[in-house]
């Protein structure tokens, strides 16, 4: 890993050398700010930590935009096809010839897109936190964690080696753990961060096994080589991967499914979704960054990265991805209709939208028109990042104002918080798929792709779109309409004093609001597609009508029920009693997990293991100790200090020696 090697690999680029350096700098700036703020933050940067973090992120965001411009418009295309450029490759650990963990930076359409998304949303969250987290006594630590997360996420998207992505995957998990548990004196926050880490770690076990399976058969860990070997129909590695198998499922399918399990854990797909609602215990900007726009899409990104293998060599695994995504989308949408904590509604909404992205990948084929699902999924990722971050940041502003998360404490805030109200409305319209906002375009593409491939999934997606509109507007009306805002106890003067939100909080809201409107018009197929070639997607009016109709119906129902105080919601919930109670309790999935872990794992595995450890292992060690102690006590009795005792033993010894030498002489 010498500088010479780095220089060599940079020089070997077909593109300008400057690109490599700039791209390497993008994750390194947040890393530097993490180290600086982490080590010295408390002492030297207690107040200015936020500025430093924001500055480093501005640098990263600027570099990402420049890289994107360079890649998409200047130098990324060769013969009309976007190339995968390995900008940096440093060999780190070699296990066998060809199988080595390299540290490398890979530029291709989705990674450049993710660079832009991650740095931009992170920058927005950094600016927002200047206002939101003002006055916290661990202010600089917060920014150092945010920088750590940004570094890890950027490393993840730029990884050129499947093991490297695993390393950054775990780092992202650690950052999430640190940030969810930021308020470490709240036991619920601590429990939530533990839950998030343990569930995702458990899923990552599957990921690791999947990596090993794939690497074993493909004899490489590098993404480019891996994909090439496992998609080329004539390669021996592919044959060996398909020929070997367990329980009738080929090794390739196992590997891909296990990798998908890792992705499902991180993306909160069923059944690993349980950590996401609890992760809302963290500060709201954290939820905006990690659990809405960036970390939770890591699973989608992973499937997209390995998409050629999924689509060309293993359609069975792709079907699993599709069904899991669709089921999660529907499941989350149903639950979101009943929740009263606004952040939890948004969390389930995130899970639902990620389900959309997953099944969009699932219905997609590879190459040309078949790859519409891929482009649609990435497009939805892009637009969703914008409006979901906007929703969370707006919710943060509301929480900041009301000092409570519950919908019951809110209402009629549209007069008190005009900017938040407007941007929140824009985001809700976007997520509901109302034209001409961004969500409409991305959702329409997804549904088109689904229609051409699987009608059942199309139907589920359509119904979920309606539910999405319903619960989002339920949320909107409950916060901003419903009734006149009365803060309990009448702290009008206090609230009036700090007003809606400081400028640092309003600025990101406004920027994201504008983006939520305009990003729909980006011709995404020009940039991102499954095989790198430009995909011209047309706008089908007939396909567009159905989701818009469902969306408007949902909005209308929500308007009827929630715009003003009425007992209609109560009557509906009574009428659909069973479903309502089930959805309110999140369909008891948490209870099932608790049951399994407490009654089965703890009692059948945990308790006996603890018993064995305490009694058998400790017992053996103690027995050794007791043996030594008793033995030594016995032996020490010989040292009685009495001369005559010694003399007797002396005599006995001499007699023994004499007998030995005289009668049993050698």
């Amino acid at each position: 890993m010498t500088l010479l090697q780095i220089n060599e690999s940079l020089k070997a680029l077909p593109v300008g050398e400057g690109l490599g350096g700039a791209v390497a700098l993008i994750p390194l700036l947040p890393l530097a700010s993490f180290l600086l703020l982490g080590l010295f933050g408390k002492k030297y940067f207690a107040k200015s930590g936020g500025i430093i973090g924001t500055l480093s992120l501005t640098g990263s965001a600027g570099l990402s935009l420049w890289t994107a411009f360079n890649y998409f418009f200047v130098s990324g295309k060769v013969a009309g096809v976007y190339q995968k450029l390995e900008v940096l490759k440093i060999q780190w650990l070699e296990f066998a010839p060809g199988v080595s963990i390299d540290i490398g930076l890979l530029l291709d359409p989705i990674s450049v897109m993710m660079l832009v998304v991650v740095t931009f949303i992170s920058l927005m969250v950094h600016v927002y936190s200047l206002g939101y987290m003002k006055g916290e006594d661990r202010f600089s630590i917060y920014y150092s964690f945010l920088s750590l997360f940004t570094f890890s996420m950027l490393g993840l998207v730029l990884s050129s080696n499947i093991f490297q992505i695993y390393i950054f995957w775990e780092l992202v998990g650690v950052s999430s753990f640190l940030l969810i548990g930021y308020y470490f004196d709240k036991p619920s926050a601590v429990a939530a961060s533990k839950k998030a880490f343990i569930v995702t770690r458990f899923a990552d076990l599957g990921f690791l096994i999947g990596i090993l399976v794939l690497a074993f058969h493909a004899e490489t860990l590098d993404f480019g080589t891996l994909i090439q070997r496992l998609t080329d129909a004539s390669s021996p590695q592919l044959h060996s991967a398909i020929a070997n198998g367990l329980f009738g499922i080929s090794a390739l399918t196992w590997g891909l499914l296990l990798v998908f399990i890792g992705g499902a854990g991180k993306s909160a797909m069923m059944p690993f979704h349980i950590w996401l609602p609890d992760a809302m215990e963290g500060p709201t900007p954290v939820s905006a960054l990690i659990h809405a726009a960036t970390m939770v899409v890591a699973g989608v990104y992973l499937v997209a990265r390995l998409f050629p293998v999924f689509a060309l060599s293993c359609p069975g695994a792709l079907e699993v991805v599709m069904y899991v995504g669709a089921a999660s989308a529907l499941f989350a949408a149903v639950i979101a209709c009943t929740q009263t904590d606004i952040k939890r509604v948004l969390a389930y909404s995130t899970m639902s939208q990620i389900g959309y992205m997953m099944f969009a990948l699932g219905v997609s084929g590879y190459g040309g028109e078949n790859g519409l699902g891929f482009t649609a999924s990435m497009f939805h990722l892009f637009t969703h990042a914008m409006f979901k971050a906007l929703l969370f940041l707006g919710a943060g502003a509301v929480i900041h104002y009301v000092h409570s998360n519950e919908m019951g404490d809110m209402g009629g805030l549209r007069k008190k918080m005009p900017v938040t109200h407007l941007t929140f409305l824009i985001a809700c319209l976007a997520i509901a798929g109302v034209p001409p906002l961004s969500g409409f375009f991305s959702k329409e593409e997804i549904l088109t792709a689904a229609f051409h491939s699987n009608k059942l999934v199309y139907g589920i997606a359509l119904f979920t779109a309606g539910l999405t509109a319903f619960y989002m507007f339920r949320l909107y009306f409950s916060i901003f309409w419903k009734r006149e805002y009365s803060n309990h106890g009448g702290h009008e003067e206090e609230h009036g004093a700090h007003g809606e939100a400081p400028f640092t909080m309003k600025l990101p809201l406004m920027i994201l609001g504008v983006l939520a409107i305009v990003t729909g018009f980006v011709p995404f197929g020009e940039f991102v597609s499954s095989d790198g070639e430009v995909l011209h997607s047309e706008f089908h009016l007939t396909m567009a009508i159905a989701p818009v109709v469902f969306g408007l119906v949902g909005i209308f129902v929500a308007l009827m029920m929630y715009k003003s105080e009425s007992n209609l919601p109560a009557r509906v919930s009574v009428a659909m009693r069973g479903l309502y109670t089930g959805a309110l309790h999140k369909f008891y999935v948490d209870e099932v997990y608790l049951f399994v872990t407490k009654k089965i794992v703890f009692n059948l595995i945990g308790r006996p293991s603890a018993w064995i450890d305490k009694n058998v292992v400790n017992g053996l060690v103690d027995a050794g100790g007791m043996f030594a102690q008793d033995g030594s006590e016995e032996l020490s009795a010989w040292q009685s200090g009495k001369v005559q005792g010694y003399a007797i033993w002396f005599l006995v010894g001499v007699i023994a020696l004499v007998v030995g030498f005289v009668f049993f002489a050698p």
């Binding site: 040292q639 009685s640 200090g641 009495k642 001369v643 005559q644 003399a647 007797i648 005599l651």
Partner: protein, 103 residues
């Protein structure tokens, strides 16, 4: 029976083991010292007997005996000095009481 070397050796062996028995059994330190003197005497008899009956021309056994007597005297003196010291410090010269060196 003609007295020869064997009979004298019988005597010295018996005297020696009487001394051993006394050393192991007695509790007073002075009496232990007396038993030690018995053992030394038995050894002296042994040396003289061997000198007389086996190596008549030489004097080695005689000298051994002379030196043993001299050294026994010195040793008895030192031992008694120590016993007196113990008596002064511990108040008792019982061998059972002198067990400070135990574990």
């Amino acid at each position: 029976m003609q007295v020869g070397l064997t009979q004298i050796l019988f005597l010295s062996t018996a005297l020696f083991f009487i001394g051993v028995y006394g050393f192991l059994t007695r509790r007073n330190m002075i009496t232990m010292l007396m038993a030690v003197e018995l053992m030394l005497n038995a050894v002296n008899i042994n040396f003289i007997a061997f000198n007389k009956y086996l190596w008549g021309g030489k004097l080695d056994g005689v000298f051994f005996t002379i030196f043993i007597i001299a050294i026994a005297a010195a040793e008895a003196a030192v031992a008694i000095a120590i016993v007196i010291n113990i008596y002064r410090n511990f108040g008792s010269i019982d061998a059972e009481d002198a067990d400070s060196l135990k574990l």
